[in-house]
């Protein structure tokens, strides 16, 4: 039915939706159900943390995923437990008023900074400007005063698509600018886009326990990025049994076999997609027959492509050759064998010319 009264933009979240959202976050965080009341209490009574949300080089996909979650309660819950002071997509203010709000929050209140999008470094950072200031300047102004930084999406975490080789604007993630950030703790929630549950879980964890969740060595929260996709994949049994899709649309594909041979990057990607899934209808790429593209990993545009092959291609700079590792390997092996053959032939030739005298050393 059409949403004639525009319920999805109604900022009020009902109690049922509120409890449901907290329960989902608790499950994602791996907390026992005894902790749910504490989560609910923290979300309901704590002073709503102020959040400044900065957009740099990005597609707004992360924000869209958050706001247009098919289950509207999730977006409303997030907007209910945080006080969004500055967010270019959803804020009512515009122009000077918006910039004033931003500075007001930064100067006078504790806040959490959420960054969406990469920050370009090349040519003084002129490739991303908002209100006449470069992304680097804005980050330097806002980040040191934040109590924590959440880099949402692969762009803010690791640079994303605009950092793909040859990276014309020198794009990089927030954590690549320690000189601008100044010691503020950074938490990365990569993904293209990331699951809103990972963001919600991080915020609720912060509200409930007054500290950030445990992180892995790439600053990703372990509750969401602690396990490989491959280890929780519903098609893992087919992998173990050696039942593979050979090409899209074949019989094995229709039977739902493992997508390893058509380039699924599940074995090298850390995320909770198979467990938490997307869109409240229990889907994620592999469940609908497409391999994982590894979007939560650094430089995935360079290292996970070609998306339908297992390994990246080898580039030989001077010769301009771009080919698969195995085809380069076979050629070098052929050259080695040829060199060995030539060496042997020279030896035999010399022996024929000089006779056998060389044996008497």
């Amino acid at each position: 039915m059409a949403d004639t009264v525009n319920k999805t933009l109604d900022p009020q979240v009902d109690r049922r939706g509120f409890l449901k959202g907290c329960t989902m976050a608790a499950a994602a965080l791996g907390l026992s159900d005894a902790m749910i009341p504490k989560l609910v209490e923290a979300a309901a009574t704590a002073e709503r943390p102020r959040v400044v949300w900065l957009h740099f080089q990005e597609c707004t996909g992360c924000t869209e995923t958050l706001l247009r979650a098919s289950h509207p309660d999730l977006a409303r819950l997030i907007l209910d437990i945080i006080s969004l002071e500055y967010h270019e997509t959803v804020m009512a203010a515009a122009g000077h008023q918006a910039e004033h709000n931003l500075m007001e929050t930064v100067e006078k209140h504790p806040f959490i900074l959420v960054v969406e999008g990469a920050i370009p470094r090349k040519d003084g950072g002129i490739y991303c400007k908002i209100a006449g200031k470069t992304a680097m300047d804005i980050l330097a102004e806002v980040a040191p005063k934040a109590s924590a930084i959440i880099s949402i999406g692969t762009c803010a975490s690791f640079g994303g698509v605009q950092a793909a080789s040859p990276n014309p604007t020198g794009a990089a993630g927030v954590q690549d600018y320690p000189e601008l950030v100044g010691g503020t703790p950074i938490i990365n929630i990569p993904g293209c886009p990331p699951n809103p549950i990972a963001f919600l879980g991080t915020i609720l964890h912060y509200l409930t326990f007054k500290r950030l969740p445990a992180l892995d060595s790439m600053n990703r929260p372990l509750f969401a990025y602690g396990r490989k996709i491959h280890d929780h994949c519903e098609r893992r049994a087919h992998f173990n049994e050696g039942r593979f899709v050979e090409q899209y649309g074949d019989e094995a594909h229709k039977l739902g076999y493992c997508l390893f041979k058509v380039g699924c990057k599940g074995p090298e990607t850390f995320a909770n997609c198979p467990a938490v899934r997307f869109n409240d209808v229990g889907v994620w790429p592999v469940s609908v027959g497409h391999g994982c593209t590894g979007c939560t990993e650094p430089n995935f545009w360079d290292t996970m492509t070609p998306f339908y092959e297992r390994l990246p291609n080898v580039t030989i700079p001077v010769a301009g050759i771009v080919a698969g590792a195995d085809s380069v390997g076979k050629k070098v092996l052929g050259v080695t064998a040829a060199a060995v053959g030539i060496h042997a032939a020279v030896g035999i030739g010399k022996r024929l010319v000089k006779g056998k005298s060389s044996d008497q050393e």
Partner: protein
């Protein structure tokens, strides 16, 4: 007619290392190619309980531990082995070794026929083995990083040295090719040397004994 005398060259431990290394590399490369691009498909071949990938991975991991143990033995022998096995015998840092490197280069390019009279590896051979052990250490580190990606020790070092899992996988695969190049060159120069200088080079890896002409 030249007369030869026996010289003990390689200890039992070194020969054990060598054959552990050979067998584990054969298993690792074979199963590694399967794991990268499985050439069987039990859906097509009709198997129902073959667990093909599971067994390939199982063999790969057993061979990997054998490989790591073999490399550990070799590194031990570099320090505590007999005279021919120690690292100073193959590094071009002493006058004797630099002279050998020079002579062996001339010898291998058919410019000179003079053969250095030494019991252990020549410097070129020893150097190529040293590069291979570095490649082996890389394979061990990247392999453990992929086997235990969630163990913090391997994760911290793996991320620092190699980056993401995918990058580790890629480099693990590329460095594997070195071992195949090495096998071709190793076999060729073994046969070449054995044909030119009858000192029992090939059998020495079974018996530990080389033969030298009596002066």
């Amino acid at each position: 007619m030249a007369t030869y005398e026996k010289h003990h060259c390689w200890s039992l431990l070194l020969r054990l290392f060598h054959w552990m290394f050979v067998l584990s590399i054969i298993s690792l490369v074979t199963t590694g190619f399967y794991i990268n691009n499985p050439w069987t498909n039990t859906m097509i071949e009709g198997g129902t309980t073959s667990l093909a990938m599971t067994y390939m991975r199982y063999i790969h991991f057993i061979a990997a531990y054998t490989f790591a143990s073999a490399v550990a033995i070799r590194l031990f022998l570099y320090i505590f082995g007999n005279k021919q096995e120690r690292i100073l015998d193959i590094l071009p840092v002493t006058g004797r070794n630099i002279k050998n490197l020079y002579r062996i280069l001339l010898h291998y390019s058919y410019i000179s026929d003079s053969h250095d009279d030494r019991l252990g590896h020549n410097i070129l051979a020893g150097g190529s083995y040293l590069i291979t052990y570095f490649a082996a250490l890389f394979m061990i580190l990247s392999g453990f990083y992929m086997l235990y990606p969630e163990v913090s020790f391997w994760q911290v070092w793996g991320v620092k040295l190699l980056g993401s899992q995918q990058w580790a996988r890629f480099l693990h695969h590329c460095v594997m090719w070195w071992f195949l190049f090495f096998v071709v060159i190793h076999f060729y120069f073994l046969i070449w040397n054995d044909a030119k200088h009858p000192e029992g080079l090939i059998s020495s890896m079974f018996t530990g004994v080389k033969f030298k002409q009596k002066a």
